[in-house]
Symmetry: C2
Subunit: 479 residues, 2 copies
Amino acid sequence: MTWADYFATTDDDGRARLTHAAVAAIASLEQHLDAPRSDVAPIALHDLAATIDICPPKGTALAQVLSELGATVWANGVVPTNPLTIAHLHPPTTVSAVVTEMAIATTNQSMDSWDQAPMATALELHLMSWLGAQIGLPDSATGVMTSGGTASNVLGVTLARSFAAAKLDVDVLKTGLPPQAQHWAILCSDQAHFSIQRAAAQLGLGRDCVLTVPTTPAGVMDIDQLDETIRHATEAGRIIIAIVGTAGTTDLGAIDDLAAIAQRARAVDAWFHVDGAVAGAFVMSPTHRHRLRGIEQADSVTIDFHKLWWQPFNASALVVGDGERFNLLRVKSNYLDRGDELDGMVNLVGRSLDTSRRFDAAKVVASLRTIGRNDFGAMLDHLVDLATYCGEAVTAHPVFSLVAPIHGVTCVFDAPDYDEDALRAVQQRLLVRGEAILGRTVIKGRPALKCTFMNPLATTLDVDHVLALIARELPLTVA
Amino acid sequence: MTWADYFATTDDDGRARLTHAAVAAIASLEQHLDAPRSDVAPIALHDLAATIDICPPKGTALAQVLSELGATVWANGVVPTNPLTIAHLHPPTTVSAVVTEMAIATTNQSMDSWDQAPMATALELHLMSWLGAQIGLPDSATGVMTSGGTASNVLGVTLARSFAAAKLDVDVLKTGLPPQAQHWAILCSDQAHFSIQRAAAQLGLGRDCVLTVPTTPAGVMDIDQLDETIRHATEAGRIIIAIVGTAGTTDLGAIDDLAAIAQRARAVDAWFHVDGAVAGAFVMSPTHRHRLRGIEQADSVTIDFHKLWWQPFNASALVVGDGERFNLLRVKSNYLDRGDELDGMVNLVGRSLDTSRRFDAAKVVASLRTIGRNDFGAMLDHLVDLATYCGEAVTAHPVFSLVAPIHGVTCVFDAPDYDEDALRAVQQRLLVRGEAILGRTVIKGRPALKCTFMNPLATTLDVDHVLALIARELPLTVA
């Protein structure tokens, strides 16, 4: 190998080399196992990893390296396209995104500055405007791609913090939290994602700054309880800096009444953030989009393309209704922001918590253009239909009991005749044997099983299969 | 198209579909232009982006979508392999990483929980242990991959904040910044990356919490000034919670005296973080690694694989000398951390600020195994040699003047006979015309030009070419 062989270039030789390597990489993905994962024990996987000599003195031929990765790593991974991989909001990915990842990696644009990503900057901004329009935000809306829902939520809450501080004439990024911050509160439901607490922790406010509002049995924020929480907090001298509505909770898929929350947020002059990481995709479904009513009033919205938009990790976005609000983050760097930019030379570092950042927008655009709105919406609707079918099957089943009505793509259920250890053991045993990767969570203090439908190619037969598999396992675990 | 055509699967049909699409994606990268970028005006790129209909009702054939992306997006991007693309720490990427990106995206493991990434978890941990060993950290070292140097620095400073709070018996993640935090200080040099200030801003401490230590003319932290800063801060009642050493400053490539800083950090019981985003790669060079002496005493180290390890964005790591320290971050989530994990079932969400997270470790391992240590070190040394050659050429040149001695892969220089506007105009004009993408920064209040050598395939002829191009442009801009 010469050094030139190591690098991805776009001349004729380079493209030939890339093609050759791409074919080998794809061949290495061959799965000899028709299961969600191999049955190799967790500890044995660490032993297997330890056999890999990461950087030998002399390099190994690429074909050999790819084939080894296939045999050791890909063969022992989770297969997200397997219909029995249903634990998490962990999607199968589109061909268009997968191959665009290769173009992204070859061209390696960095989104922090225009001179590392001229057209990429323009395309990301175009995608963000489009997304703002889908959400129904005003024309002033724009956004930024982030590494995930947690990062998007952290960015949303960061903006809310700066906004609250600015009202006190404090530049919190410069001088730190003002003394008044000890009275600040962030409200979200008790089913909101833990990244809201993590955001508060990261921002120096602490998780205790988050007041969780009780939910109805369906898992949506109880608006009377929200009013109650606001009243109590206000009486206790707390300043509510942000209210977070969840569009699609992690476990139950519940969508809060965003219009009602928007109205409360306005009334107390709090930032209204919507965590739409899960159900934000419903903006693409004529059937389900009405359930997001109120999202168009948000100050900021999290959308995870790497969930129900079938993108590979990472691909998330934080969209802000009033794009000027990104000025709350503005940083100045001599080497990135030079002050004499021409019209159209935008350095996106100014609206991101990252500096170097990959051009994930390209794969999202490639996928949306390939699939089109009709099929996209139909595939989303199919996933909700699968979860609904699962809910009906659970309800009709002699052993299972539905924990909450179906709102989205998850079905959470209990087997009330069995003790907690039995429920835990079923999930664990199927995982260890590689037979099924089920979700397991805790609802009202008791373990519950969860199926998450992310794969539009799954059918009701797969749902039947999963439930039969779980039922088969349960008797074995009775004490 | 049927729905099945949209998704990347690893069965025979799926791999055939992927191969077909991969070949088309690579073909779309063909560059018809032998320049670092096209000369399309910045504002025209936004108009071009606006012509892309992101999600038409009916999808467009993938081959068509890829070909359009080629003609609009890739044709108007920056070409990182062009020897005249020398503005930033923005590398060409390896073939092995590029094609492994495709495998990463197809298999789509998510690093937050073991049941979404069983073998991927083991491999990331193996890579992190290996990296700790290269740095010379104790066997207790481990780490986590992050989305970039900024994220790694933020994570390092986050741990330092929790560590400082724990000494006061405060769980800062739970209860927020204690009152004592108003006296906290973080020290770094005035050439440290701006992400240290951003970390302080994010964490609620504010940028003002960062005390910058003056540097020598070579750009390294002045240790006498560090002692002075510590003395002043201590006298003023400040508690130094962290001292950051920089291994490779962004502009000058300067490496602080890490051993001296380590000793000061120990003396004041502060967390010692090393930002090795740039020069951390020198652990792989027998020629240059001695310059990192002291890095092995760090509490945490940032390493950017997407800089001098030639990985596509994003691929960074934060390595911690004592792996137990990650417990400072520990979060509990019912759906990810179940409490009955078997031996070897590690949920990496516990050591990350992200939740969903891509399996970037795979591409790093594929690249290191393919290149091997000998070539890796030789390519690094070549880049330093190129920068050194550039420094000599600048020194010998009638028009240019070197701003600081060469420490790494950057060469920063002035043209003292020209006014500031002339210097600015040269960089801007070459960028707009797409002829060269030069770095431009501010050193001692005056603009300076910067060449950053990231491409091991570049030669001294390319250096001569760049300098000739700049010299050719300068006379045009004399007032």
